[in-house]
Amino acid sequence: MSALLSMENLTGGYGDADILQDVSMHVAPDEIVAIVGPNGAGKSTAMKSVFGMLTIRGGRMLFDGDDITKWTPNRIVQRGICYVPQVDNIFREMSIHENLEMGGFLKKGDLSASYDRVYTLFPDLKERRKTLAGSLSGGQRQMVAMGRALMLDPKLLLLDEPTAGLSPKYMEQIFQICRDVRDTGVAILLVEQHAKQALAFADRGYVLAAGKNRHEGTGAELLADREVAEMFLGG
């Protein structure tokens, strides 16, 4: 299958330091790919590199036929990649509906089809559309954050630790939402701290350590790999 996103031998970081060294990854149009690894492995950095947020010194990034290595975040958003940060990913003092409206800010014309799509995915949000996003629970906030990012009809959604700080119940809920989003034709690349759970749920995974690719495979393969288990998953 041809890849939607492919990162080829990427080297780069913030400022002068290279956090990523020769990292290669790809994401197909209909899959959920998880990046896992120990703290400081460069997981979030790898994802931010897709979004044009760091200095790339080697390699390139292809998305849907375009070389997006040097693009600005704004141009990347318009091309179809949306990013959900780990923290501060909602407008707290705005209603759920206004959060979505801001997500669709760049879209010209009618937003009603996009609202419908998001509200179909998250029926809970539709009921509470006038509620201030800051008053919601952690799981619901994550839904608002993802909903906001989905308003521009992206082809690829980047999620930075979507389950951080959530209870296991919510974690499962967020994973289910990710599957639902994928089933609407949006690929997902996510970074996860909870490596075991993430690999069990994702279609494929990458294990990063010290800014380098270490292992790649389907979730089941990685979970079964003795070295992966010992090094990164705590046995």
Partner: protein, 290 residues
């Protein structure tokens, strides 16, 4: 003291003064919410607005109320210009640099006013205006205009912020600037819009101070402290808080004359400011902490 005496001589002038402070405080609070710094040239911009209106009144011989929209538009344009020429270059620097720059702008604007219009006291119209009697309440027309202008301007601003796409973009930028940028909201346009609104409200504030009292080159500078006290009292970043804060500071200043000599009236704003910063720095309606 009689109730009507209290109302006519202290409360009504307090509401009028408070409305004037509120018009300025709303701008201060918006600038803080979007740009994250205290704008010290706010008072002198208000003076500029008042004198631009004076120029229109004396130059064209129209009524002051006709001159107000002209002053609002002109001051808004000046505010946008000042931002482009001076503050924009400092955007990435520590905020205190811009605060100090705005102090410099305050002195510059005041000097220009003094060069162009002189340092003498001016008025929009000569003669004494007698208040009308409304069931025992003695109110002047200009006092009604002031309060109506506050309601119309701030009401319009609230509608803009809650109903329009760009108004919501302003709130988004105030709420979470990073996420607003990730959503593709154009920061430069939001900043420009902020200056248009703040500059326009500033002019209205200076104009109504001039209409209710007189025009002096230092008039806006003396309003700066009460305006900041109002913004902080209401909760920084809260438009409705700035209005509430403005009214409280205005009324408190007028009522303070009952217990302290009137020369110390201006100290009330200082007392309120200190008290709020010590007791509840987020303000009455939970705002940002300075």
């Amino acid at each position: 003291m009689e109730l009507f005496e209290l109302l006519n001589f202290y409360v009504i002038p307090g509401i009028v003064l408070g409305s004037i402070y509120a018009l300025g405080a709303v701008g201060i609070t918006l600038i803080f919410a979007i740009l994250r710094y205290a704008h010290l040239a706010h008072g002198d911009l208000a003076t500029l607005g008042a004198f631009i209106a004076l120029a229109v009144v004396t130059g064209l011989g129209v009524s002051p109320l006709v001159a107000l929209p002209v002053a609002i538009l002109a001051t808004a344009a000046v505010a946008v210009g000042i931002d482009k020429v001076f503050y924009e270059h400092l955007r990435e620097r520590p905020k205190i640099v811009t605060v100090m720059a705005s102090l410099g702008i305050a002195l510059m604007v005041r000097s220009v006013i003094q060069v162009v219009w002189g340092v003498d006291t001016e008025t929009y119209s000569r003669g004494i205006v007698r208040p009308e009697d409304y069931f025992g309440l003695r109110i002047r027309d200009r006092e009604i205009y002031t309060v109506v202008a506050l309601i119309v301007l701030v009401g319009g601003l609230q509608l803009f912020l809650t109903r329009s796409k760009w108004g919501k973009a302003m709130r988004a930028m105030s709420d979470n600037p990073n996420l607003a940028l990730l959503s593709g909201i154009d920061n430069k346009k939001v900043v420009m819009l902020t200056w248009v609104i703040a500059g326009g409200l500033c002019a209205a504030s200076g104009f109504f101070l001039g209409l209710n009292t007189e025009l002096k080159s230092m008039m806006g500078w003396y309003m700066l402290l009460p305006m900041f006290a109002a913004a902080i009292l209401g909760g920084v970043g809260r438009v409705e808080g700035a209005v509430l804060g403005g009214l409280i500071v205005g009324i408190a200043e007028e009522l303070s004359v009952l217990v302290i000599p009137s020369e110390y009236k201006a100290a009330m704003a200082f007392v309120i400011l200190l008290f709020m910063l010590l007791v509840r720095p987020t303000g009455l309606l939970k705002g940002k902490v300075l």
